[in-house]
């Protein structure tokens, strides 16, 4: 263990769900201070390294997949350190306990949590280092630290004398007492937070710099592709590789747990050779469902099992009993693929009893488990190098591609790059689950008196716990992995967090309705599922905000005013709702042939209201404009907030208009962008984003733009056509 680890800031979960820092005592003889005499560099904590020649490195514990951590988190530490964000060089964290996400006790990037969980600890880290640098300079000048200031990576003395650069001060700074409770800069003194624009990674990403997993290049590297079963759960029975082995460049063909690997000198050789491979599959445990069966099984489950109560308030059955009217609707939503533009890939190299993996992953510590599971190695023998990610959206929380690359590398003993084709990426995804929602409301005296929401579908943790549980207990021997997976599930809500993936966004129903009955009927058709940008909010948002629209219509009320009348107890909801309506000129005439729809939804702590303006022309739905009002607390980078909301809108509209992964006899029917289309430039609406000025603690923005736009579009189409669509994706003609 390196000596420096001892004086890393120790991160422990605080009572508020945020972080508290405990610091070791440096400065005394014999106690490590984070100063390395050989290099002359100072690591005051787990995040910062300052060098004698004035470079500042920042270890980024949350991956960059487009959501802006590289810029946003660097801005936090830069603000308190007193240097421009662009003068800091971020680098991706290795897998280590001090870099875990405190909300999950795993080192993963997801749930729109990066900024919220880093807001306090990173500013404290920056402030501590700055205070120690100032004390060091003050001791040199024999003045009070209070009379010194910092600017541009230098400490300035009182009375305008010569300044000292941070680099010159690091050795002395390391010996200063660590401030116990460093005062953070007041808001009015911020130079970068809330003001910084642009992105620190924009130049690398505009010049073709080799920064993604797929770009990794190692000396002597070979390439692998894997033929996987067409139906999930099938296993290799036998395979015939006699023709494959005759193909140019082919080095090896062998079975791994997930299929048959073909390894060749070049990628294209491996791909061509793969076509000559014939595999006979044992399909005795293979998935055999078709999409229609999924939904009929959901309806059957819903009839037979009212589900577990997830929120109950008042007396819903009583409200129905005395209601003048009962309104019912059910909504069906399909499986959705992540479709990151960079397909799944990983590069692995096994040598000297250890394996190194270079991969675009959202969860490096789970990657260690994945690699250990399929080799003779323990997680400690696995090093994960995280690269930039060409999109994540939840897909790269699952490290099946690391598992495959590691299994191949363990056998070939050369650096191996595994690349999935787009077709493989589409067909072997872990999907946003298909879901059924049954809604029922009681209405009396022109008021909604009761709200019932039965969510029907799987839970994601059932699929995720396989590698997540062992990652939380890395000391556990491998033969316990499967047990840990099962225990992890049983301990849900005790040792592991309750799985909210099916119910989030439904149980937080915010409107003022006295009697609530919200339930989850847990049923799993066996299709692999995972987190997908905005997760449960993505389907519950549609269910809640579409049914609200149906109720407004039943009551003969304006959809905006109807929501408004039921939300005035929630000021942040109300503010974004009013702003979006005002900005979209709600109630004013719409251009001929168009209509507006509205939705209001809070997810990941962020409040978003959206108004969609749409039309139907020549058999196609056209979305003209989406107006968004957003309250995400304190904004760190306004450009990134805007981009994330706009990107979320495009992502949500893609799902609303085109997203449909279907199964036939257990096989995915889609393969590439011709049958799983993404919204294009010429289909995009104008997106207007207004951000509420707030000094509340910041909340995430990567996901909250997605959920409301789907119902807002459906509601606009209802306003346009008078026909309610209750199954996604939406169609131009029903």
């Amino acid at each position: 263990m390196s000596m420096n680890r001892r004086d890393f800031l120790k991160v422990t979960a605080g009572t508020s769900g945020g972080l508290v820092l405990s610091l070791s005592l440096p400065g005394c003889a014999g106690i490590p201070t984070g100063y390395d005499e050989h290099s002359g560099n100072w690591k005051p904590d787990a995040w910062l390294e300052l060098t004698a020649d004035d470079r500042i490195y920042f270890t980024l514990a949350r991956v960059e997949m487009g959501q802006g951590t590289y810029t946003g988190l660097t801005t936090l530490i830069a603000e308190e350190l007193g240097v421009p964000p662009a003068s800091i060089q971020p680098r991706f964290a290795p897998a280590a306990t001090e870099y875990r996400n405190p909300l999950y006790n795993l080192q993963l990037t997801g749930g729109s949590t990066s900024l919220a969980t880093s807001w306090q600890p990173l500013r404290v880290a920056g402030a501590s280092a700055r205070i120690m640098l100032v004390s060091a300079a003050a001791s040199v000048w024999e003045v009070s630290p209070d009379d010194c200031s910092v600017a541009g990576g230098r400490v300035l003395p009182p009375n305008g004398g010569d300044s000292l650069s941070y680099g010159r001060l690091v050795e002395l700074a390391a010996k200063q007492p660590v401030p116990e409770d460093p005062a953070l800069k007041p808001r009015k003194e911020w130079k970068y937070i809330g003001k910084n624009r642009g992105r620190l990674d924009a130049e690398a990403k505009s010049t073709g710099a080799p920064i993604y997993g797929i770009d990794v290049e190692l000396e002597g590297m070979v390439y692998a592709v894997v033929t996987r079963p067409p139906r999930h759960g099938a296993r290799v029975r036998t395979f015939d590789d006699s023709d494959v082995r005759k193909m140019p460049g082919v080095l090896d063909v062998f079975e791994i747990e997930r299929g048959v690997a073909v390894v060749a000198d070049k990628y294209w050789q491996a791909r061509k050779a793969q076509n000559a491979l014939t595999v006979e599959w044992d399909e005795s445990e293979a998935l055999s469902v078709s999409s229609e069966q999924v939904f009929s099984s959901y309806h059957k489950a819903a009839d037979e099992d009212p589900g577990e109560s997830e929120r109950s308030q008042g007396d819903f059955d009583g409200a129905v009993g005395s209601a003048e009217r009962v309104v019912e609707a059910s909504y069906e939503q399909p499986y959705l693929a992540h479709a990151t533009l960079e397909p799944m890939n990983a590069t692995a190299w096994y040598r000297d009893g250890a394996i190194e993996v270079w991969a675009p992953t959202q969860a490096p510590d789970l990657g260690r488990i994945a690699a250990a599971r399929v080799t003779d190695l323990s997680p400690d023998d696995v090093t994960i190098h995280t690269t930039f990610l060409g999109g994540g959206f939840g897909r790269r929380l699952t490290n099946d591609y690391i598992e495959e690359a590691s299994a191949v590398a363990f056998r070939v003993r050369k650096p191996v790059k595994l690349i999935w084709s787009r077709e493989e990426d589409t067909r072997h995804d872990l999907y946003r689950p298909a879901m059924l929602h049954r809604m029922k409301a009681s209405v009396s005296g022109g008021q909604v008196t009761g709200w019932h929401h039965q969510i029907v579908g799987p839970q994601i943790l059932d699929w995720y716990v396989r590698n997540a549980a062992p990652a939380q207990y890395p000391w556990a021997p491998k033969f316990l992995y499967d047990t840990l997976g099962r225990v992890g599930l049983m301990a849900e809500g005790i040792a592991t967090p309750k799985d909210h993936s099916a119910i989030e966004g439904a149980i937080e129903y915010p409107y003022l309705v006295p009697n609530l009955d919200i339930r989850h009927t847990h049923t799993d058709p066996g299709v692999p599922v995972s987190w997908w940008r905005s997760v449960g909010f993505s389907h519950n948002g549609f269910a809640v905000e579409t049914f609200m629209d149906e109720l407004a219509s039943e009551l003969g009320q304006d959809p905006y005013q109807f929501r408004r009348s039921l939300i005035d107890h929630e000021p942040r909801h109300l503010e974004v709702l009013d702003r979006a309506a005002r900005l979209a000129r709600w109630g004013e005439p719409v251009p001929e042939g168009r209509a507006r729809g509205i939705a209001l939804f809070r997810s990941f702590g962020t409040y978003v209201a959206q108004v969609v303006e749409a039309s139907v022309k020549a058999g196609e739905i056209r979305v003209h404009q989406v107006v968004c009002a957003v309250d995400c607390g304190q904004v760190v980078n306004p450009d990134i907030v805007r981009d994330q909301i706009e990107g979320g809108v495009i992502f949500g509209l893609t799902a609303a208009l085109y997203g449909d992964i279907t199964f036939k006899d257990g096989q995915v029917q889609q393969s590439n962008f011709h049958d799983y289309p993404l919204m294009r430039h010429d289909q995009r609406p104008e997106v207007v984003v207004e951000i509420v000025d707030s000094n509340q603690a910041p909340t995430g923005v990567g996901e909250p733009g997605v959920p409301p736009v789907i119902p807002a579009l459906g509601n606009a189409l209802f306003a346009l056509t008078g026909q309610r669509q209750r199954r996604l994706p939406l169609k131009a003609q029903v």
Binding site: L341, G390, H681
Partner: protein, 161 residues
Amino acid sequence: MAVSLAVNGRKQTVEVDGDTPLLWVIRDEIGLKGTKFGCGMGLCGACTVHLNGQPVRSCSTPVEMAEGGDVTTIEGLSSNGGLHPLQQAWVEHGVPQCGYCQSGQIMSAAHLLQHNSAPSRDDIVAAVSGNLCRCGTYSRIVTAVESVVEKGTARYSREDA
């Protein structure tokens, strides 16, 4: 087979199967990783390069079809070794999110500007509509291209030199 082609002005000869997509030659034989693999069917545009001045999908262009050709990739777009005006605009407008599609977006936009120094918004949208962006950076892409048009610095590619 041996295939000769010029990449970013440099003559190269590579020994590969003739049906190898130009994309993998550029990435793995020549070692320029800026051109991206997205779909392998010419559907997403991440692999867009210029072949003899025309934008092509390198993932579905066999290298033998590029024999003797002149290829420009994102790394060779600029005429002076600095940033091409489009790349400069991409940085100034903070266009990239995950960034994976942006080489292709820029190559499509660069071809437009080489042939039309005053394109309308519709021209710009048409030129880049074959380039998918999963992050949804579309509006910033159009704004960035328009800023280059306004500055009148559109023609600064190596290919114009």
